[in-house]
């Protein structure tokens, strides 16, 4: 049940969604309609997102920017199925996430979303190969098949010679590449990246961005990236700005 939009539609929503490159017909993979997310801090109500509409097409590489507290990470968590909204609907890949239970969302995430975090968050007791294999433990694949797929993912990110290394034996850039390999090993349609270059120097940041671009171009992954870094945002096809819970 994927929505289909045309460039014309996209242009019509350009104030909220920006303009896509090219003129080919594109399918919406992520659609948020009138989404609201509120948190409570004691008795204080904090409205992080309000009446937010957003459509992201399949194969897009989107950057979400905005000041701290603008709701970028909250929006990313909602898209990734980590959190659920207080209002509105979220449809990803034709699946309505709004009514799902926590367990259902967890299952959905394992098949459809790859995660890249700012601080890599690899398990220090596992090798690079074992870390990449981690999401596949949730599948029924045999041990040899899991290993084969993890090796392939590590080859894609250029770490075939670091498979048996532990995270402490890797540089920051290499650790982030392992995280990316872990994100793609189960072949998800969407990759969400929260400040993927936040802890890296420029050279390593560029390598990671090159890798994300390659995943987008060659492997047709839809990428949604939260970043503070304008240089990183430049690499996305499209930038969206959030301020006080609204897309500007």
């Amino acid at each position: 049940m994927s929505d289909t939009t045309t460039t014309a539609d996209t242009k019509a929503d350009s104030r909220e969604e920006g303009v896509y490159r090219g003129t080919v017909e594109q399918k919406a993979i992520i659609r948020l309609v009138k989404v609201g997310r509120t948190y409570w801090r004691g008795k204080e109500k904090i409205e992080v997102l309000k009446d937010l509409d957003l459509t992201i097409n399949e194969g897009a590489f989107e950057a979400l920017m905005g000041p701290s507290g603008s709701g970028k990470s909250t929006l990313l968590n909602l898209i990734a199925g980590l959190d659920s909204p207080n209002a509105g609907t979220i449809t990803v890949g034709g699946v309505d996430l709004t009514g799902m239970s926590d367990a259902q969302r967890a299952r959905w995430r394992s098949n459809n979303v790859g995660f890249v975090f700012q601080t890599y968050n690899l398990l220090p007791v596992l090798t690079a190969l074992q870390n990449v294999e981690l999401p596949l433990l949730l599948t029924r694949l045999s041990a040899s098949e899991r290993k084969k797929r993890a090796q392939t993912a590590l080859r894609i990110v250029g770490l075939e010679d670091r498979m048996s290394h532990y995270p402490r034996q890797l540089s920051g850039g290499q650790e982030q590449r392992v995280t990316i390999a872990r994100a793609i090993v189960s072949d998800p349609k969407i990759i969400v990246a929260d400040e993927p270059t936040g802890d890296l120097d420029r050279e390593n940041a560029n390598e990671i961005l090159n890798l994300l671009e390659r995943l987008n171009n060659e492997f047709k992954k839809t990428i949604v990236m939260v970043t503070h870094d304008p240089a990183a945002a430049e690499r996305a096809h499209h930038q969206r700005h959030l301020d006080k819970g609204k897309l500007t």
Binding site: A106, S110, F115, T119, N121
Partner: protein
């Protein structure tokens, strides 16, 4: 099994903490095994008692004696196969006064009929029977004092003052754990002949064998009834009942030891629980990441429980190994030699070993319940936030 690797690797993550925790469990288990073995060994002495043997003593107290002629009366009771008697002698080895050992004057011709678990070479039996000053000693006592067959020894009397000379006629071994292997037995006549006329022909207690263990209560009743109208009344009970009444004096100690063993296990549980809880707190972000990529709360709880059970198993296995060595070959050997009457067989019982290791694993898992529940209930978004 594919998840077990993560639980096991998490255990080995902080090696120093794991070593300290396992060491804590190990010491707790050694203490548990030692305490439980005291209880089982003590209680086990009752089970080792011969089921077809009766003891008859003075109704008032063990210290008061019975007329020697009572033995013949008991022998005439239907169902009694054989009867013998003994007197507590209570002498000491003058070369080692602090070392306690049981020594008794017994009726040599009938003693081995009633106590057939005592094994001696026929030559040694013959030598003992023919020598009024002959004595037989258990192999443990012989080892302890370095006494040998043919050696002349002198004991220092306490109840019966004076120096008492004996010649070791034989060294016995036991075919049942009911027999203390660190005792000395000598001729009752040797003692009786040395007493004043008014003290002669009295025995400490009578031990008899019956033809059917099922008749023990009935025969005991018959014996006591027989002496009811005489000047000296008796109390007759099975050897097992005698042991139990002896044990009854220590029932409070046994109860206290049982409580102590439970407390030791609880302390062990707290040690594991604390270690696991610390690990879970430190790994909040990792569990958040795992939840994000699709692991369910049950998976996370499973990792934590697996980890705590593995710590319990590790500590349990090491504790059992060291505990068995300490108990069986350390204090066990000492107690069997020095307190063989009370602890004839001081070894870790298989059931105690199973409780120790099983308890360590189960209590390990139980200790992990709270941290596991907390880890499973972690809010994914909050945990992810901690990553940054």
């Amino acid at each position: 099994m594919k998840y077990a690797r993560i639980a096991v690797k998490n255990v080995l993550r902080n090696k120093f903490r794991t070593i300290m925790t396992v060491a804590g469990i190990t010491f707790a288990l050694i203490a548990f095994l030692a305490v439980r073995t005291v209880v089982t060994s003590w209680e086990g002495a009752v089970d080792y008692a011969a089921k077809d043997r009766l003891g008859t003593r003075h109704k008032v107290t063990f210290v008061m004696q019975l007329p020697r002629k009572y033995v013949d009366d008991i022998r005439n009771v239907p169902g009694v196969k054989a009867a013998t008697w003994a007197n507590w002698f209570g002498a000491k080895n003058p070369n080692n006064e602090k070392e306690f050992f049981a020594n008794m004057a017994v009726d040599v011709p009938t003693f081995l009929e009633v106590y057939d678990e005592i094994k001696l070479d026929p030559d040694e039996i013959a030598a003992w029977k023919s020598n009024k000053r002959g004595a037989i000693i258990g192999d443990v006592l012989a080892r302890k004092f370095g006494w040998k067959v043919g050696q002349k020894i002198t004991l220092m009397g306490t109840i019966f003052p004076g120096d008492w000379e004996f010649e070791i006629s034989g060294i016995y071994q036991a075919t049942a754990r009911s027999v203390d292997r660190s005792s000395l037995f000598f001729h009752w006549e040797y003692l009786n002949d040395s007493l004043r006329p008014e003290d002669k022909d009295h025995v400490g207690w009578v031990a008899s064998r019956v033809d059917d263990p099922k008749k023990v209560p009935q025969i005991a009743k018959t014996i006591d009834k027989m002496f009811d109208e005489r000047d000296t009344q008796t109390v007759t009970m099975s050897e097992k009942a005698m042991q139990q009444s002896f044990l009854g004096m220590f029932s409070t100690i046994l109860k206290a030891l049982n409580v102590v063993s439970v407390v030791i296990l609880l302390i062990m549980m707290l040690i594991i629980g604390n270690t696991i809880a610390m690990g879970v707190r430190e790994r909040t972000n990792e569990y958040g990441m795992m939840r994000a990529i699709g692991f369910q709360p049950g998976h996370i709880a499973g990792f934590v429980l697996g980890e705590s059970a593995f710590v319990g198993l590790l500590g349990g296995a090491i504790g059992l190994g060291l505990g068995v060595m300490f108990v069986n070959f350390g204090i066990g050997a000492f107690l069997e030699e020095n307190m063989g009457g009370m602890f004839p067989f001081f070894r870790v019982a298989p059931v105690t070993a199973m409780i120790a290791v099983g308890g360590a694993v189960v209590l390990g898992a139980v200790a992990g319940l709270l941290p596991a529940t907390r880890a499973a209930r972690l809010d994914v978004v909050q945990s992810i936030r901690k990553i940054g």
